[in-house]
Subunit: 517 residues, 2 copies
């Protein structure tokens, strides 16, 4: 599943073209002139924390390396317990108390608190799982966490989870270590929740959040955020006021369930006298979209999709003006938007359009060359992106009803993960604080009504909590879900923060939040 | 690709229900009472050869084991040179002279002759390659060639190539060793051609056969056959007067070629604004067949398909009466024929219907669970079965023209193998001799106008040779292209011949041919 950070990269694929510089590790002194109110009141505190981050740089990088070197892949049930224990240990070391493993019907979650005796409490959401990785596709092994030089970026760490999400999460922990290490007190209390199944659609995360003690703790929060590496290559940042929901599912057509065609693979010559589960799947798939494969054709699927408001359209128009279409196309490797729409329309579609996407097709013989079989089974892996006011449950029901009505009721629909869309008001305190910190760093964030990707923020923004929720953090990385995933450790690009700058952005955020009403 | 033998199994899937017994190893004496004319003239010769086959049983089985233990998989370019050399060595040991490796643009073929100074010459076609095998799916390792007991069948050899085609080929070699070992002379001359790419569609076999010296040698032949294990579990045999042609091809839809959608996998959230090569492939596929996935809808594809003649329909009606529909359905694991046709209609379709079959679908993420990508590429592996007077070249052209006309001209069509249909007259001498040998063994073969599978017999039956061509051999095996492929070595079923009985059927065939005009 896609969290907002990586979808920020892949969904929007570039930061705005209007470029501003932001404080550098080496330019900390200059940054002091742009300090927030609280920091102006305590310039020594601020400088001390910054120095402490730099002093602990090696320690922070080693922590991240240790983390990346522990694969924890829910899709493969690999290293999950070890990954959970490791993160819990890191939380304890960063000052959290009552760090608890929260059993679910799947991989365990984690709950922890950090009581600073402060008036305000902030929620934090982490994931400790990572996406699968095929070492053959990587230029440096995905679980080696090598430190490498990347042209025009500086020193990076390469590995699965580097940017999604261990790097940004480690930067947040580095901020906590630095605040404590410099003898300061956290300016806000923290409530921490994490899951180990984000990459498979967070199927059991509600079981963590809906625990009485967790709900009680979260209810005290002004909002909740996930650390992320929000900067594009040009240093810009996009703030999203929510995210699409998603359903991931497998559609399986089989002779076994269909009662037609073979139950297992038979010789392909039999196609002359037998139905084919693979063709049955192809026909079912074709019924789900318009003839060009672009527009969902599932009956009732998008009935509750809320059109963009005038305010949302205005945000998108502004974003389209500020972001580079050419850069976006280059990063995606595309020449045309769907239906050859304009850049602004493409952004509108990205933000507002429910989708039906084929992630994968697997049927019969998949090796090199051919094999003359009529397969007894074929599978399509789909993801469906949902916008408010669609719900995952209703979308799934619409899909099943559509298939049944079109004569494909035998096709098994196995939802492997997913959840509802997420929305957070533009004037929520966590959004205002985020904007203030970015602006003080010289960044005017691009604001979009929602992220085209998905993250399980609905657990916080929906009933019963109705908390604002989002992502925050300076820094840069790329390659989430892809080979050669990286996160910038020491930036050679004056517009982009390294890990220390990312950690410091969290320090700023926490202090800014403490002072914002 | 499918040779006639394995398609005899999988295409027809059972032998006729009218059961007769045939001579057993232990019943050789009784068999003498049913001896052919030539044998009646030389009863001692006949008994001596039979005794020699039995004497050399262990040697023959060991030869087959050695052969199976040498994988030679063209699709994986694995062990091909070793497999070719091993077969050449076996030919020399069996008495062939001038055994020559015939280079092609792919894997080499083999040409050899066996001049017995006889008036008649018979052509032989062998393959030395085998299908791929995934050891994880086998109950005994596919290249171990273990001798196992199989209930109701007796001692079998299990391994890749056991029945397709090393077992039957080894039985033929055993016949040659026995004739020579008993001091007799071959009653006919032999011309031998082989290829190592049968399982990938024989793309270079014409380069072997079209060599001047090979053509010259084959022109002297009365016909050509491939040794096969033709008996079903009930001992029955089906004779086919040809085979469908075939095209195996990969259809690849890619952003690269299409110029729309991404060139490589991108995050699936982008579906909202990008075309999808995977959907493009699904739509293209759906255009190739009727909405139920059963009838080819490629324009002009089947224009030259010759309808069944009255004589062919009569053969099929007779076959339908003799063969068990229930057994066929059980073996295939199916409950319904396509369009719910009758058994006779199902056989007519099997024999006469051109097909468009999906062998495999491979697109995007194919591992466990899901992965939120919009794939840059998706592939369908198809096979198309052709009937006279369709040709592979015309069918391929029709497929490409159809795709172009329907807006899918960017989809790459890579034909990986295939060839024209094959036809042999019912009154050809090799068919008459085959029938005579079967009948003398108490088997009335079921005759079908053609095999629903394919073999490269067109190289012989087409211009310039126009030779009759087919398959012959008693014996039984199953699992071609599947796990646990086997060939019966010592039969405990009185209706089914073991390897010795298969070898002896070849002895009978050669002597019968020598005497038939």
């Amino acid at each position: 599943m896609a969290n907002s950070s990586k979808n920020g990269k892949s969904g929007n694929e570039q930061a705005p073209t209007r470029r501003r510089t932001f404080l550098q590790g080496a330019a900390a002194a200059a940054a002091l002139t742009a300090m927030p109110r609280w920091a102006q009141a305590h310039p020594d505190d601020f400088a001390a924390i910054r120095a402490e981050i730099e002093k602990r740089h090696e320690e922070s990088v080693k922590r991240l390396q240790t983390w990346i070197r522990q694969p924890s892949i829910a899709a493969e049930n690999r290293g999950m317990n070890e990954g959970c224990e490791l993160m819990m240990q890191m939380l304890r070391e960063a000052g959290f108390s009552g760090v608890k493993k929260m059993p679910t019907d799947g991989q365990p979650g984690v709950f922890a608190t950090f009581d600073a005796g402060a008036p305000k409490t902030l929620g934090l959401y982490f994931m400790y799982d990572v996406k699968q990785a095929d070492p053959a596709e990587w230029s440096s092994p995905p679980f080696e966490a090598a430190l490498l030089d990347k042209p025009a970026l500086g020193k990076i760490i390469m590995g699965r989870g580097a940017v999604n999400q261990k790097g940004p999460e480690a930067a947040f922990l580095a901020a906590l270590h630095a605040i404590r290490g410099s003898g300061k007190k956290l300016p806000v209390n923290l409530v921490f929740v994490a899951e180990g199944e984000e990459e498979i659609g967070s199927p059991h995360f509600p079981q963590v959040v809906r625990q009485t003690e967790v709900l009680a703790a979260l209810k005290k929060c002004v909002g909740i955020f996930m650390p992320s590496a929000s900067q594009g290559l040009d240093g810009q940042v996009t703030t999203t006021l929510g995210a699409k929901g998603v359903i991931e599912c497998e559609l399986t057509s089989s002779g076994e369930r269909w009662g037609r065609g073979p139950r297992k693979d038979v010789h392909s010559s039999n196609k002359a006298r037998l139905d084919s589960p693979a063709w049955h799947l192809v026909e079912a798939l074709a019924s789900l979209v318009s003839p060009d494969g672009n527009d969902p054709a599932i009956e009732g699927y998008a009935a509750k999709a809320r059109p963009l408001s005038a305010a949302e359209k205005k945000m998108i128009a502004e974003a389209a003006r500020r972001m580079s279409e050419a850069d976006a196309k280059k990063l995606l490797g595309v020449q045309h938007w769907v239906h050859d729409v304009s850049w602004e329309q493409a952004l509108e579609l990205l933000v507002s359009r429910p989708t039906v996407n084929i992630e994968g097709l697997v049927g019969g013989y998949t090796g090199p060359g051919g094999k003359t079989i009529l397969p007894g089974k074929a599978v399509a892996k789909l993801d469906l992106r949902l916008v408010p006011d669609m719900t995952a449950a209703e979308a799934l029901a619409a899909l099943k009803a559509h298939l049944a009505k079109k004569g494909f009721g035998d096709i098994d629909v196995n939802m492997t993960g997913g959840y509802d869309p997420t929305s957070t008001p533009a004037d929520a305190v966590i959004i205002r604080v985020e904007t203030a910190v970015y602006r003080r760093g010289g960044i005017e964030p691009v604001v979009l009504p929602r992220n085209a990707g998905s993250w399980p923020g609905y657990v916080f923004t929906g009933d019963p909590l109705r908390l604002p929720a989002g992502h925050f953090g300076l820094g840069h990385g790329s390659g989430a879900h892809a080979p050669d995933e990286y996160y910038v450790i020491e930036s050679s690009n004056p517009k982009v923060q390294g890990m220390d700058g990312a950690a410091f952005s969290h320090v700023e955020y926490l202090y800014e939040l403490a002072q914002t009403s």
